[in-house]
Subunit: 408 residues, 2 copies
């Protein structure tokens, strides 16, 4: 029996025991109206196993290259240093040296070695990191058990607010916590993970179990998020298990395995929805569910394509129940669709019933579209029973303004 | 030796001999500020072979289903009737009957049979065609040898102007002409063809040669166009050879085969560029070329993804030389990219040289981006010599406005 999850109010990545974090303003992030935190450090003791997923974009940031090598080595790690405002991507050999130097500086600050420090850089592509600012920041950054909030702010780029969550559950005389934070409001079409999605737990865990759990959870959460179809070069999802709660490492068969996986998924799903809600220029969180699919893969394709479609997104911003665009998007997704058996719901309203438009008053549907969250549901009519949900947001004129002005 | 092509000023689909056309306002298209032509008829005598390519969207309009059956039968056809304002898609059994009725009405008007009439419907999805308007229109429409212009207007949806072109060349004592028209400004990410792209010629041609030539030409032209990543349910490309110029049917080995194929490609490329230039809300025509690719498929993927990327498109609207987004798009395209050997040009300016950013003054690059046409070039550094070009447009706030208000 899986115990009930309790949401921790004001929780985040330092809610699980064993983690300290902090954030500081160094000046790396030069855009925006006011100085905002742009360097974050998360540390845990002792060194612990980490599951990681990284972008499948063929062009990758130096931090992604660094982290892949680190995790491939299979040794436990003990810290994560991140900056926003600069992705350190397509920066040549100097970029690789800067990334390593960032890990070294963090390691010096923590009394560990560079090979135990993961790095995350997010922001503009093609510019060298101002290393003197990073160095100064890492000398003065302060860490605490409540520092998760500052860390969550430090990784933001065009996000309007930080995304954080944490849950806990009790089982077999122990209490376990799972926390997380994430960032990303544009260039969001994760192909392994979103820009940054970090989840921590104080449960001890087997490294292979961590990696497999992260992969499965991301497949249903972070990888089902789309804001603007562009896959970042920095996408990074990490799942870190400090072990501070004590006990045997969680793996398949462990009494806490199911509850821990569910807690991780709850936090990841919450972060995914918050990322979608805060998409650049977004006014509406769109949740698209595809059912009646021939396979889970088909259902995921259809749901993801619906939330990705510029014409569905603009239909939502216009409060326009032009549901033909939902059919168009499902049809181009690659999923099997039988248009003569398909049905579509906008909010609670069924607008297409087994291939035939319903005689519903579309002004009612339009009113339902004015809510801050809109569900779109499609039965693909493909005869199967697989389903999937994806999250996205509407496409507003504000998105265009934000991205036309991003680096200048 | 391929003879020189001569562009025909003010030319279009009725420039080749043997074609008559017309367009009329019937009231099918209810949006827009003023009555605009919305029903077009193109006819030729005698019945002739037609090459056709249709959308790969799993959801298709009734006209696409009708045309596929007609062309699969392999018999020559003699007319094409089109309406704009209503796609007759996801309209159930009544929609199928309406499509057939449209072909019958056109056949009655022309004294032929429904099985010789191709149909094209484009516009809003999910609404029944107002058949009484179509019927009245087909009774009164007038056809002429100069009617190609009216036809080109009648197929427009959110297009701001018609797209037409024609060329001619002389060879072996005969003169051949090739003409074309196209429409489509949104829901444009052709997966076989664009919304509508029609090419006519008075050359006689072998049906198999026509089909193969259309496929090859579309692969380099119409299928390399992207406006907003959404693939229409009505995409239709047709290549019609009236044979009025006389002589033996053109096929491989025919002395005119190379020149005719080149003329067809010139017209299709012109139409593709004009479609991109008139993309919904567009201010800038973007031409992206990928070179140094491991395969043509890779080059096409990279070029098409660059013109599709919302972040590249908004970079252009903001005149912001944020070329990292070009690398990001190439990287997520699925093409092989070596980021340490890649180079990028924005207009004439090389901004990335073999993986290293160049010290160019970015304000110069920004100025080059203010032109009505912008070329973006990437060397993928993948060691190959394959290349491809794709066309698209910038993403403006106007695109959002147009598509938020489309059906209401």
């Amino acid at each position: 029996m899986v115990p009930e999850l309790e949401w921790i109010e004001g929780g985040g990545i330092t809610s699980p025991a064993g983690f300290r974090a902090g954030g500081i303003y160094t000046g790396v992030k030069t855009y925006g109206d006011e100085p905002r935190l742009d360097l974050g450090l998360l540390a845990w003791q002792p060194a612990a196993p980490v599951g990681g997923l990284f972008t499948r974009n063929a062009v990758t940031g130096e931090s992604v290259r660094w982290n892949r090598r680190l995790l491939a080595a299979g040794r436990p790690v003990s810290a994560l240093v991140c900056n926003s405002g600069n992705a350190n991507t397509v920066t040549g050999e100097q970029g690789a040296r800067d990334c390593r130097r960032m890990a070294e500086l963090a390691a010096e600050r923590l009394g560990t070695e560079a090979e135990q420090v993961l790095v995350g850089s997010t922001g503009v592509i093609g510019r060298l990191l101002p290393m003197e600012k990073i160095e100064a920041g890492l000398r003065s950054i302060e860490l605490s058990e409540h520092g998760g909030h500052a860390f969550a702010r430090a990784i933001m780029t065009t996000d309007t607010h930080p995304k954080e969550a944490a849950v806990r559950f009790a089982l077999g005389g122990r209490t376990y916590a799972v926390g997380g934070c994430a960032k990303g409001a544009g260039m969001i079409h994760p192909d392994m993970a979103t820009m940054f999605g970090f989840v921590t737990t104080d449960a001890p865990a087997d490294p292979a179990w961590l990696q497999e759990t992260l992969r499965a959870v991301a497949g249903r959460t972070l990888n089902m998020l789309d804001i603007d179809m562009d896959t970042s070069t920095s996408d990074t999802a990490l799942l870190i298990a400090s072990g501070a709660a004590g006990g045997e490492p969680v793996r398949d068969g462990h009494p806490a395995a199911a509850a821990l996986a569910e807690a991780i998924e709850a936090v990841a799903r919450h972060l995914t929805r918050e990322l979608a809600r805060d998409g650049e220029g977004a006014r509406t969180l769109i949740e698209a569910t595809a059912v009646g699919a021939a396979s889970v893969e088909d259902a995921r394709r259809a749901a993801r394509t619906i939330v990705s479609s510029p014409l569905v997104k603009t239909m939502v911003v216009g409060r326009d129940p032009n549901w033909g665009r939902v059919m168009m998007a499902a049809g181009r997704s690659g999923a099997r669709v039988d248009q003569d058996r398909a049905s579509v719901w906008i909010g609670e309203h069924r607008v297409l019933d087994c291939g035939t438009p319903t005689p519903i008053d579309l002004s009612l549907v339009s009113r339902a579209m004015a809510e801050p969250e809109l569900s779109i549901r499609i039965d693909l009519g493909a005869g199967g029973s697989a389903e999937a949900t994806a999250w996205g947001c509407d496409l507003t004129e504000e998105y265009v303004r934000i991205n036309a002005d991003y680096t200048t």
